[in-house]
Structures are given as C-alpha cells and as structure tokens.
Symmetry: C2
C-alpha cells in the first residue's frame, strides 16, 4: 500500500490518512506514535493518542498535557483521559465505528490486548506498511527545518574541532559538542553524541567515556541537532596527529563506498540497491565483513525513520525523502571509520544537505 503524497501541509496530511482509511475500508485509524501525531496535528507532547475518523479527529491526552494540547493541536478535538485505553475505547464507541486501524509498530502488545478486549466485537486491524511511510517524503517546510538542524550541528562540530588533541577525554568532547549545538539554538541533540576514539571507534555505537584521545587515533564523531522537531545526523571520522598508512587507506575506501552510495541515490532506485553499492565495494576491497550495519536511513521528526537503506528493504526511493548515507568499517579491538552525510532524493539523483567536506581531517 503506497500512500498518496500529493497533498501539502497539515490539512493535506489528514486527508492522506483518510484516503488510506477509505482504501482499506476502515472507519478510523488510531495513531500512537508521537512523531506521527505531531506530524498530523502539531501536538508536541510525549504521550497521547490520535484517532483520525472520516469526519472527526480526536487527540487524547492525559491531564499533564491538556492545556498544551488545546494550545497546539489543529484539526483535532482534544479530549482528556485518565486511562488511555479507556479513553480510546469510549471515542470509538461514541462514534459507533465498527472497525479501526491501529499502528502495529507503535502499540505495545499489552495495550493492544487491553483495547481489543475492551472493544469486544469491533475490529481492530493491525497496520504496518500502510502507515510506515506517512512521513517519509518531506515538504519544503520540513526540508528547511532539517537544513536548520544541519547548519547548527555542523557549526557546533567545527567549533569543537580545535579542542581535539591528545589528552582530551571523549566525554568532554561530546559534552562540549552537545553544549555548542544547544547554544547554537537547537532545542535538543537528536541522539546521544558518539565520540569514539582509538579501539572504541571499532564499536559502531560506543558511548563516549573516559578514554583520552591519543596521537594516532581515529575518532568517530556522530552527532545531530533538533530544530522544531526535525533532526540532523552526521558523522565525521578525524585523525589525531599521524595515523598509519593502513588507516589512511581504509579511510579512502570507506569514503569511496560513501561517494558511490550517494551517486546511486535517485528516485525509483531500490533502497537495497544503495546498500548493495556500498557493501559490494567494501567487499571487493576485503572489508565487507567489517561493515556491520545498514548504509543509511530516513531522517525527519525521528532521527531513524523510513526508509531504511538495508539489503532487507523492499522499498524504493521517492523524491523528497531525506536519508543518511553512512558506510563504516570496524576492526574489532583496533579501530573503525564511519562517514555519514545527509541527502535529499531528487528525480535525477540527490542533493547532499550536509556541508562538511569528508576528506580525512588531521587534528591535534
């Protein structure tokens, strides 16, 4: 089920959902993913539920959020609940709906069972792919927010580069980078910043720790900002002083895998194909088994969203999707390299949104 994406703006988003419901012969769709709820009606709280019906939409929140929801939400009537499942059930009953779709990736099994049991004979239909791509294609306003996040996080990264030298602790680098991202006007960082040096760089998701940078280290720095809910995500791997010829050589190989993957991005191409381009090149150079994650992912209101640039994906790229491209090589116990940019898919290729050049940079 591909959702039509020919509407712009918030009202058009609700219409898209109603179109999906109509196609699926559903009287309503229940959303529990807060990113989807924000996307559809503008509510930015951390908990709630949205029911989109053919005529009426309801945003359900608990007492902590009633005032905020009334102030923020458009295109939905705000209702306060004491028990979420009970609140949802009473709307469905009140409207007399015989069926309702439910986001199966955003509801826990426990809440589903409670709601199903509470609703008795009404059908609760599990949706997955039907709503997974709701936010995948970005409109112009969304692209601007992502670009703003990129601008802030990149400036922050460049401002901390001068402090990267032997003796500095990873976690102090991360802290300074996050502080500069926030000082730069971001509402938050989009994920816990990774600063992984020396042997830690071989762990793709290392948390910054007390290790001090040393001459000869590669340092993987993966960071992002959030602006009006929209995320950036970028990774630079830098060299502290002289690194070995082998490190330089592998850096060049990862960089080429990254460049080739970006060159493969355009509307209509399979997501799995972009992954294959990077993976095949690394495999050809004997490094494929050290590339232990996917090549990239969509970015928007969440830092990881659809589509996934994975060999498992069955999806195709569409114009307006914003993606990361981030091949990496990790040699356990030794060192690792990841190079990540963000791009936006276009009909005939893609545009790179991140602005920091990815040639190997030597610091310290």
């Amino acid at each position: 089920m591909v959702i039509k994406r020919d509407f712009k703006g918030a009202r058009g988003r609700i219409e898209r959902v109603r179109g999906t419901a109509a196609t699926l012969a559903l009287e309503a769709i229940l959303f529990l993913d807060m990113a989807n709820i924000r996307y559809l009606v503008g509510f930015t709280g951390s908990e709630g539920a949205l029911i989109v019906g053919e005529k009426n939409n309801y945003l359900l929140v608990d007492g902590r959020y009633t005032s905020q929801a009334r102030r923020e939400a458009h295109d939905a009537e705000v209702r306060e609940y004491r028990d979420k499942v009970e609140g949802i059930a009473s709307i469905i009953e009140g409207e007399g709906w015989k069926n309702c779709g439910i986001e199966s990736m955003a509801v826990t099994l426990r809440d589903y069972i409670k709601l199903r049991d509470r609703l008795g004979g009404r059908e609760l239909r599990c949706l997955a792919e039907e709503v997974a791509f709701l936010r995948a294609v970005k409109d112009a306003a969304e692209v601007d927010k992502v670009k703003e996040a990129i601008g802030i996080s990149s400036s922050a990264f460049l401002s901390v580069l001068a402090g990267l030298r032997p003796g500095v602790e990873e976690r102090d680098v991360a802290l300074e980078l996050e502080y500069q991202i926030r000082r730069g006007g971001a509402e938050n960082v989009s994920f816990e910043t990774i600063v992984a040096s020396g042997e830690n760089s071989a762990l793709p998701h290392a948390r910054p720790g007390r290790r001090r940078l040393e001459a000869g280290d590669l340092v993987v720095i993966d960071y992002g900002a959030v602006c009006e809910g929209y995320c950036s995500d970028e990774t630079c791997t830098v060299a502290v002083g002289d690194v070995s010829d082998r490190q330089r050589e592998v850096y060049g190989i990862v960089k080429e895998a990254h460049d080739r993957a970006i060159a493969a991005v355009r509307a209509g191409v399979a997501c799995s194909e972009v992954d294959r381009v990077a993976r095949d090149f690394l495999t050809e150079r004997g490094l494929g088994k050290h590339f232990s994650h996917g090549t990239g992912h969509g970015v928007g209101l969440r830092v990881h969203e659809e589509p996934r640039l994975s060999y498992l994906s069955k999806d195709r790229l569409e114009p307006g999707m914003i993606l990361t491209v981030e091949p990496g090589v990790y040699l356990p116990g030794s060192w690792g390299i990841r190079i990540e940019d963000m791009v936006i898919v276009e009909e005939e290729g893609c545009k790179v949104l991140t602005t920091i050049p990815k040639d190997l940079r030597v610091v310290g």
Copy 2:
C-alpha cells in the same frame, strides 16, 4: 504474581526470572525492554533481545553491538542477528522450547505478530504484571548509584540558582543546568529538563522556551541525572522576587500535600493510598481539580518505572522501592507549582534521598 526478591546481584536476578518461568510453567522468557536486559545481564546497548531459559540464556544483538555485547554481557551467550524476529525464533527452535513468555509492554504488536507467525504452533504467552516489577526493589549497589545521580543533579541545580533572575531565558537556564549535570560527572540527564516560568509553569510538562523570567514568576524546575544507568528526578519551584500572597499560600498547601504523602510512605501501604493522601489534602483546600497527574513513580534504570503512585494502582509498597513524591497544582493560564523529592521505602516509613530543602526559595 509477585516475584520473589530474595536474591541479590546479577546472578540472583536471573534466578528470579527462572523462578517466575517455573511458576508459570514457561520454558523461557523473552525480554525486549533494554532496561530489563541491562538489569539482567549488564548489556548497555540500545537494541537487542534476551532469552532466559531454564539452563541457557541468549543475548541477541545486531552487528553494531556485537563487540560491545561480548565485552559487557554476563550470564548470557551473545548471538548476532540480522533480523531480530528471525534471530529470536531460531533460538527458540534450536532449544526445542514449546512455549516462551514475552514482555507484552515491551514488544510492539508488529513484532509480536511476526514472531507468532514465524513460530507456528509454539505458545508465546503475553506477560505483563508477572515481569513488571522485576526492577522495582533496589539493592544496595543500585541505591548508591541513584544517590550519586541525586548528588550530581542537586549540586548542578544549586550552582545555577544564582543565575536565576529576571531577563534570563528558560532555555538558557535548562541548558546551563544540563551542562552542569554533565560536567559534574553524570553520563547524561535522565530526561529533558523542565524550566517553566510564569504562565508556562501551569503546564506540568512544558518544554523550556524563549520566555524570559520576570519578577513575580514562579519557576518549576524538574531535572535529573544518570549515573551508571541509574536516574534521579527532583523538582524545585522557586520564586523570582516577590510573589503574591496567594502564590505563597498555594506553595504552602502543595508543600503540605507533599509532606503528608511522604509521611504515608512505608512498606505494605497501597500505592493508591499515598496518592489519596496528597489528593485528598489538595481537594480539601479546593485545589484537587488542579492536581492533574499522579503523586509519583518508581525510579531506577528508567526515570519512570514501577510502582506508580496512582489512584489506579493495585500495588503495595515494599522495602527498597525508590519513589518520587511530587504533588503539583496547575492553574491554567496563570501559574503552577510542583514539589518533588525521591524517597526509599523502609519497613517503618521511608527515607528522603534528595537533599535540597523544599521551603519556598526566593531568587533574583
């Protein structure tokens, strides 16, 4: 189902799970909640699955986390998966288990359906209350980590107090507080710091924005730190310069509700009773309808965990549970007050773990 809590340390935790499985006639229990996985086998990554069997335990992770899991995990064999559901299914098949419990609050409906369909005739039994309290009672090492988090966050709060004066933006206060928490040695903040001034203080979960503090404001500051995974959570409401007699009066009422609730905490008492004590007092003073959330919650590896001090709760307090007590009053469009401490339940009462006095403090 109350889980036996007479084991200490990590090995004892696994034994408790096996005891639960045996009581429920389950051959294994599948954990997907990363806090439970950390609690049981020490793995600190952000994604994975743990299967605790009668004899063998398996920690399943994707390629990003294989090295880290091998380094961190105890009491479990590490297996790498490409597709999580497939990885889980092949362990269950390989062991020949006919049934397996599953955390229904930590699995999405989508993953449950995929796993159920993949496993064919094997029983996947939904667990909820049976495992919800796994981490509720803290051992001495856990209490020490929570105390460390409290120490760091409280010191950070006291260090930013001097900067609270008219003209300062909420978000700069939040940023400085979070920076000081991290500088103080915390690995992170335990949630996005709330700094809500003036009319924003009437929103229990306001995000810090561009509003500048003004003389006469009440400012709700809700903050916490994370140390070795364990969280703190504390709220101070401070007055900027002179506040009105009514604000002082309501502050005193909220403070008394808070003190009375803390006085009600002891082993054996119903969680709902602690909530009732605070709520009844506020209702008696005409403020009950403005207390729009529960009285508190457990804190540990997550900042919100069991038990919940809610009128809906059917649970009772046990010695070693760590709780927040945090009544509040929110007058929409005007101002709000919340006062929050952390306590540990004891046989004959409780001990307050937070150290900042909660008398009304005037700054600026």
